[in-house]
Symmetry: C2
Subunit: 300 residues, 2 copies
């Protein structure tokens, strides 16, 4: 089996992936972009991580494009992506667990006021605030895919009053009106781009908080900053941004009501993801159905 | 039923407790310290929250001293505490849950490096660090009482490799040698006072972290600061201190490897704790055994 491996990783990352993939799929021969361009008839499948646009065209024997990342919005935006080849998202159990951990940490921090205590520590202020029970906190999880369902289950296990929403026609406004904490785990599609705008924040009760672990383009930054600055929103935990890395001058960096992570809420774990990728590559080359195949119309 | 209510709460706190206790035990008449001193033969039970030393002596009909707090070390340190009267600790389900939440938040923060990301945000630095799975993190919970067991169960539910220790002769050193995160939930007794000293930190592997949610006097502060400053310990999350409130000049406040809370890891919830206290008061006055009775020899 000849497999093209290409993506935007650095040398150390690429070495980690090479090692994990070689262990999970010892029968494969791995091609880099130069090798695939030199002999395009060789590549039977591609394992990709945000590959440079154009790198997957002109490969006549390609049977599967397996993404190493869960989000495929950048991959699908490449107009040269070969139309007839199935694309699969990565569903990595270690990544699902990591995402649920980050969601739980953010919700615990907001519920119990730990970000506020961190500010008080820096100010040298000893002051206790009131404490609510978890079942008194309404958490709304946007997105009910692999990651949304995992995160919602972990939050419910901790006693939170968890509600879920997906884009299936369920009205969003009544759920927003009850939500004290919103956790966004939606896929980025033309329908969800910019969903977290002024109207969205206005539909929340005063002093609600936002946790965005999905994509930066879900958020209209100016509207979020306005909602925070007017005191309408209490706090935002942001892992993803419209421009990444977040530019040094961006107001999020030093905003007292923003906690930010450098797109680190959940990293794909090469050890488990390579096993998932290997199973899918074997299935594709045997003519069997592949798991987590992307619906290009829906966009995820 | 005539019940003395006394403690070190402020007016608002006292009013919250009065309201909750009156709802849970409508048959009781509540005495304050002055009323009990004026007619000492009235008080049949006492509900206390770190009462001033001496306030429980000379009450001939006292059948139960019910603490509203889980920790009774300050109460038992009063030499005038009447010897023949049972003392009960508070075991409040809402407090157990809150303590487990704080333990989970601290462990998630340490495991996933969220304190480090907060420092990077303040420094304007976009940099991802490596991610381990929860089952690769050894967490040692000291104390296997109500709170220790609750916290350990929640941590295990999240996938951590959890070990427990109690002072029953089990050697501590082999467990410390394997621990990446230690969560202290021991009772404060003469045997556990100062347990977290230089020898304790030296027994941990390099770059382990400490979460102290029990009592400040478990920690030898100079030894903890030395272990942090020498880079032996990675981080400490401290909720309790040898002197509270923590004095403004204390090095913990601004230490980059210390996250501190103002003794807020778990507040007793008057709504549920009053129900627990009411059941115990009724039992005591009916001559039935009381729950969570303190063994004065053991000290908890």
């Amino acid at each position: 089996m000849n497999v093209l491996l290409c993506g935007d990783f650095d040398a150390a990352e690429r070495a980690r992936w090479q090692q994990a993939l070689a262990a999970a799929l010892p029968e494969a021969r791995w091609l880099d972009e130069a090798a695939a361009q030199a002999r395009p008839e060789l590549a039977q499948a591609a394992v990709v991580a945000n590959p440079p646009p154009g790198s997957l065209q002109g490969l006549p024997r390609l049977r599967l494009i397996q993404s190493l990342w869960a989000g495929v919005d950048r991959l699908l935006a490449d107009p040269t992506l070969p139309a007839g080849v199935p694309v699969a998202r990565m569903v990595d159990p270690a990544m699902n667990a990591a995402m649920a951990e980050t969601a739980l940490w953010a919700v615990l921090s907001l519920h119990r006021g730990f970000f506020e205590y961190a500010r008080r520590q820096r100010a040298g202020r000893w002051q206790v605030h009131a404490q609510r029970r978890a079942d008194e906190v309404n958490v709304l999880v946007l997105g009910q895919g692999e990651m949304g369902r995992h995160a919602a289950a972990r939050l419910a296990q901790q006693g939170y009053a968890v509600h879920g929403w997906r884009r299936d026609g369920t009205p969003l406004a009544p759920l927003l009106a009850q939500a004290q904490i919103v956790v966004n785990l939606l896929p980025l599609t033309p329908e969800t781009r910019g969903l977290l705008d002024a109207a969205f924040y206005a539909a929340l009760p005063p002093q609600a908080s936002l946790v965005n672990l999905a994509r930066g383009a879900h958020v209209v930054d100016a509207d979020l900053l306005a909602a925070l600055d007017r005191g309408r929103l209490r706090h935002a935990v942001l892992d993803v941004f419209n421009t990444e890395p977040l530019p040094p001058s961006h107001p999020y960096w030093q905003h007292p009501r923003v906690t930010l992570l450098p797109h680190a809420a959940a990293l794909t774990d090469p050890r488990s993801a390579a096993v998932v990728a290997a199973a899918n590559l074997r299935a594709a080359l045997a003519g069997a159905p592949v798991a987590h195949r992307v619906d290009r119309e829906r966009g995820y």
